[in-house]
């Protein structure tokens, strides 16, 4: 446990060094909520509180992109020859991967905390139970996303492939989910695909925790089950692939 904590501490410290990336993500979330969200909610006619719905989705979406950043860091470390150093320290591969996945989740939470707090304050959510549930839902999701990112990074072992898959995932995973719009308004093929997307369940669970109209949301029990399966699958896969592909001290 202490060793996992050390990995988490190290990854949190490295996040603080990426100031410009952090500021840009904040700015991106603020522009999305403050301009795009406001503008699009003026033309949406089928939902009364679409703006709140959208803002909650942007928060989850931004946390997704912060969590996915762990995979890019793994590539940077490989390029700089840092992977061999990590493999030489007295940590098991399992501790390393779990620590990095947990750190990815915590980093996303820490990073978005000011925006989440500001948003909850604005919409009047002060109930500690609801706030706690929302945070657990978000953490569970970002923990799983970090695991996914690590799994892909060490599984693909090619920066180009990883880049293109992450680019496509980023483009499609967000739009094929209920992060931006409810499943009720999606054409059938898009709605079906969105049901296999963990971002759908994370966004809806976050909204449910914050008391949003349940008519437009996925069932919270289903969401919890899907998120648990998601985070377990990708963290176990991440550990297995990390151990298999990196053993012997070589990256490529």
């Amino acid at each position: 446990m202490t060793k996992i904590l050390l990995v988490i501490e190290r990854d949190l410290r490295s996040m603080v060094q990426q100031k410009s990336i952090l500021l840009m993500r904040w700015f991106y979330a603020i522009i999305q909520i403050g301009i795009f969200g406001l503008a699009i909610s003026r033309i949406v006619t089928v939902m009364q509180d679409y703006y709140t719905y959208y803002a909650m989705g942007v928060i989850v979406m931004t946390m997704y992109s912060v969590a996915i950043y762990t995979g890019y860091e793994i590539y940077d470390e490989a390029d700089l020859g840092y992977t061999e150093y990590l493999l030489s320290i007295p940590l098991t591969r399992r501790e390393l991967v779990l620590g990095r996945s947990l750190a990815g989740g915590i980093r996303s939470l820490v990073f978005m905390a000011p925006i989440i707090a500001g948003f909850m304050f604005l919409i009047g959510i002060v109930d500690p139970l609801r706030v706690g549930m929302a945070i657990v839902a978000l953490f569970g999701f970002t923990f799983g996303v970090s695991g996914l990112s690590i799994t892909l990074a060490v599984g693909l072992r090619s920066g180009d492939k990883f880049d293109i898959i992450m680019g496509a995932l980023d483009a499609f995973i967000v739009r094929l989910s209920s992060a931006l719009y409810p499943q009720a308004f999606m054409p059938k093929p898009i709605a079906i695909l969105s049901q296999f997307n963990p971002l759908t369940y994370a966004s809806d669970l976050f909204r449910w925790s914050l008391n949003f109209n349940t008519h437009f949301l996925a069932n919270p029990v289903t969401s919890v089950v899907v998120l648990i399966i998601f985070l377990t699958t990708f963290n176990v896969a991440g550990i297995a692939i990390y151990e298999r592909n990196l053993e012997g001290g070589t990256w490529r």
């Binding site: 700015f27 301009i35 003026r42 496509a168 980023d170």
Partner: protein
Amino acid sequence: MIHGVLAVLEHDLRVFFKYRFTLAGLISMNLADLLIMAVVYTRMVSFNYFQFLAPGVTATGLFAAAFLIGREVNMETRRGYNEYLLSLPLRRSELVLGRVTAGGLRGIIYATPLLILAMLILKFPTPAQFGLMLFAMYLLSMGISGLAISLAVALRSFERFTTARSLLYLLLIFCSTVFYPLAVLREILPGSLILFAQLNPLSAVADLIRGYLIGVPPVTTQSWTELLAFSGIFIMAGAGLYRVAIERSVQ
């Protein structure tokens, strides 16, 4: 003169196609916006959002592809590649003109299929209208390339350059009529940002394409004037700054 410019142009176009992974990501983003997001929003808003967004996606794709040249110039400046460029048997003016022209062409090459997609969705224009749309896109693309080159040489640090690029990207894309009509922006933005959105060249090109393909908003002399002014200023600024910076970078 022409020979030198063409050589630079050829070099930059070859480099452009090496960015296949960046381009694939960009295409995914543009197509996902149009074929998924716009399709869903069409069911949620009171007008055909899919048709509204098709020209907007063309403008954003053009912007992103034209801006790529800034990344290259910034990298060349930091890695000392400018010494090699200056040692080539080319005049400075050929190098500068070649780069800005190539930046513009790269934008057009990327965005023309998106324009054709918009035409398939909306309607086929007359050959003259098609030519005018391509010309407007080329002007915007050259202006954006000039802007990207200006930033790349002014902010030599990669971190500062990428931060500035992202800020600019967000402001130009979201404070424009790419995703929503100007009337909606008037309801939510303060006066200064409305002015910015009106003068934004992305708004000008998106609305020009809409004007030629669906007739709304109508194409006006003002749209063309704004586009010409933006492009003129940034092409000259980019070319001038690049010319000065490339020489200073090796001193």
